[in-house]
Amino acid sequence: MILENYIILSATLFCIGLYGLITAANIIRAFMSLEIIFNAINLNFVAFSNFMDGQEIKGQVISLFIIAIAAAEAAIGLALILTIYRNRQTTDTNNIDWLKW
């Protein structure tokens, strides 16, 4: 029963992050919602590694890899946000339309 507790928390976090990603008017807020989604996935890995693989905790190793990849994604994403702001003077997702047509 307690494993379901953690997975339902993870599903809730995923859906909150998805809602934020859809509705965000600011690109930085969309970025933060993406971090919430990353953390929901990470929580799933750690929960399953504790309840199903208690001796060889391989899920925790995978979650460490995900944390490293999230750090790389954060560096690239924030560099992109700063470059977009420098070129367009805006972080509004409706005004970023270079690739639209």
């Binding site: 307690i2 507790n5 953690y6 339902i8 928390l9 599903a11 809730t12 976090l13 995923f14 859906c15 909150i16 992050g17 998805l18 809602y19 934020g20 859809i22 008017a25 600011n26 930085i28 807020r29 970025f31 933060m32 971090e35 919430i36 953390n39 929580l43 750690v46 929960a47 590694s49 504790n50 309840f51 199903m52 208690g54 001796q55 060889e56 905790i57 391989k58 925790q60 190793v61 979650s63 460490l64 890899f65 944390i67 490293a68 999230a70 750090a71 790389a72 954060a74 560096a75 690239i76 924030l78 560099a79 946000i81 700063l82 702001y85 420098r86 070129n87 003077q89 509004d92 409706n94």
Partner: protein, 186 residues
């Protein structure tokens, strides 16, 4: 006063969900960043409850210490816009709310109807030792690949964020108008 793990778990879950909703719904972006630090710290507490102390420490160091501070710096470097909430139509808002709720209900149905094969043996391993053994034996190749990926990502971030990447809007427009005039002469 004695705190049972179940009580701490419920407290942390309520804290994480409330702060995550704060990230999504708070009107100011800087407040959202501070709410995000609350969410990440609460998840570190959840990891400790799951016997994952090393992952909890990495979560605090990398997420709260590095990524969240980086986000706050980006917010400070970007000028705060006036709140130009474009009043989206009713159908659009309805779809935006329905999609996550629909997904969430599917998740709940699947999670509660699945019979999870839970091991009864409690984890009594030293997590840091076990993770180190994995990282240097059977997960050695992914470990090296991740290190190269991090290096490439940091170099790429520096290249992207360099000053000389500003596109000269005026040059572009004058170029296109001169081209147009040449075409019209022909």
């Amino acid at each position: 006063m004695d705190f049972s793990p179940e009580f701490i778990l419920i407290f942390l879950e309520i804290f994480i969900i409330v702060t995550a909703l704060g990230v999504v719904l708070s009107p100011k972006v800087l407040e959202a960043a501070f709410f995000l630090s609350g969410t990440l710290s609460g998840l570190a507490g959840i990891y400790i409850l799951l016997n994952a102390d090393f992952v909890a420490a990495a979560q605090i160091v990398v997420y709260v210490g590095a990524i969240n501070v980086l986000i706050i710096f980006a917010i400070m470097l970007v000028q705060q816009q006036l709140n130009s909430e474009t009043s989206s139509s009713g159908i659009k808002q309805l779809v935006q709310i329905i999609i996550p709720i629909f997904l969430f209900s599917i998740f709940i149905i699947v999670i509660t109807s699945t019979n999870w094969p839970i091991q009864s043996t409690l984890a009594t391993v030293e997590t840091t030792q076990a993770i180190g053994k994995h990282l240097f034996t059977d997960y050695l190749l992914p470990f090296e690949v991740v290190s190269i990926l991090l290096l490439l990502a940091l170099i790429g971030a520096i290249v992207i964020a360099r000053r000389d990447l500003v596109i000269e809007q005026k040059e572009l427009t004058t170029y296109s108008t001169s081209q147009l005039s040449i075409e019209s002469k022909d």
